[in-house]
């Protein structure tokens, strides 16, 4: 999902995540309408946002254990394994408050890697990640798609996102102005997206 600032990307993501109730129209997931009541649907939806949705005063492991119990209702969630995957195993008993924003983002990735939602929504995930973090994120997203899940990324890193996804949607002032599946070459996308590129970018 691409588009200038204030185009409504985050709002659309929050709508898809069921955090906001639409005033007009309705949101369906696998044909099931999103009513505030049915919590079953929420198990399938993940939302990774720059605001990390983690408890500052709980440790890294406690956060994962808490969300695992909340989502999977199971005690023995693979916490160590997921932490190792994001190179956070060493920081297991540190408080989240002491982590840098990059590490917090990695912990969020570990969290959704653990919870394995069917639909994963990401709001500007590349913001704070370093090189290895970006590789880690993209491997996770690819694994998510291989597993049959859906990934929706709202981002400004056009080049990276285009390489990863197979469909592009452009939002402008709250309206979807472009929605096509990817193909080589892609003149219609370049035309549609041209006006939003900063000068000098090709």
């Amino acid at each position: 999902m691409l588009g200038p600032n204030g185009a409504g990307k985050t709002t659309l993501l929050r709508l898809l995540a069921g955090l906001i109730v639409p005033t007009l129209g309705s949101i369906r997931f696998d044909g099931v309408e999103f009513a505030p009541g049915n919590t079953g649907l929420r198990r399938k939806i993940g939302f990774l946002s720059p605001v990390d949705h983690l408890y500052e005063n709980l440790t890294v492991a406690e956060n994962l254990r808490f969300f695992a119990a909340l989502y999977l209702r199971s005690r023995d969630a693979a916490i160590e394994e997921n932490l190792a995957a994001v190179q956070l195993a060493a920081r297991q008993s540190d408080y989240v408050a002491n982590l840098s924003s990059g590490l917090k983002c990695r912990l969020s990735i570990a969290k959704w890697r653990l919870l394995q939602p069917e639909l994963l929504l990401l709001d500007e995930p590349y913001g704070v990640l370093d090189g290895s973090g970006v590789d880690l994120l993209e491997d996770f997203l690819l694994a998510q798609c291989v597993r049959g899940g859906i990934v929706v990324i709202a981002s400004h890193h056009v080049a990276r996102v285009l390489r990863l996804c197979n469909r592009a949607v452009i939002l402008h002032q709250g309206r979807v102005t472009f929605d096509e599946t990817k193909r080589r070459p892609w003149p219609s996308f370049d035309r549609a997206f041209g006006e939003f590129l900063p000068h000098g970018d090709s």
Binding site: P36, G37, T39, G40, R42, R43, S49, N57, F66
Partner: protein, 225 residues
Amino acid sequence: MTLLKETYLLLWKDLLLELRRRESLLTMFFFGTLLLFVFHFSFDLAPDKVAEMAPGLLWLAFLFTGTLGLAQLFNAERENHCLDALLLSPLDRGALFLAKTAFNLILMLLVEIVVIPLFWILFNLNSWNLLPQIFLVSLLGTVGFCSLGTMMAAVTLRARARELLLPLVLFPLMIPVILATIRCMENILRMGEFGEALPWLRLLLGFDVIFLTLGVLLFDHVIES
């Protein structure tokens, strides 16, 4: 029952956070004791009048201490938009309500367990044998306060000046509990048992049941973002 399991899970998280941050319990405890001293200075309590005034003073102290707790009830959820994290999860909103009510209830009971005997000492009342009944009434009143209080804390969660708005919205609704607990305590202090205050006790029980169930049912609409 998943509702209770989820409630227990959320309560565990809140209690753990409280142990770590030690933000609410101590402030509520010292505030409660402070109020006792303030009452002592503001009313020239002749010994015989104290037994009559005691329930009112005690409940006034618990009311304000409880409001302090309610004002901070959702603080943990304020950092990093954790409330959104909970709303995203397949959590039954009623469980969130019960967990928050239980959390504030535990804090208030811990304060009451210390403040009531302290009140007996400070105001040198001699009816120590009546404490169990006093605690029972206080427990019922606190359950009523916490259930309706948690609802109102959630209702005013996104309002400006929410610390002022919370007591303004909550206290008029609490009048049945205030009157009932004070009447019951007075009867216990005066006659050693409920006697005449039995209808008040039933009112108190009714209030608790009504607003606990109402809270579980309506919390979904209160807390949606």
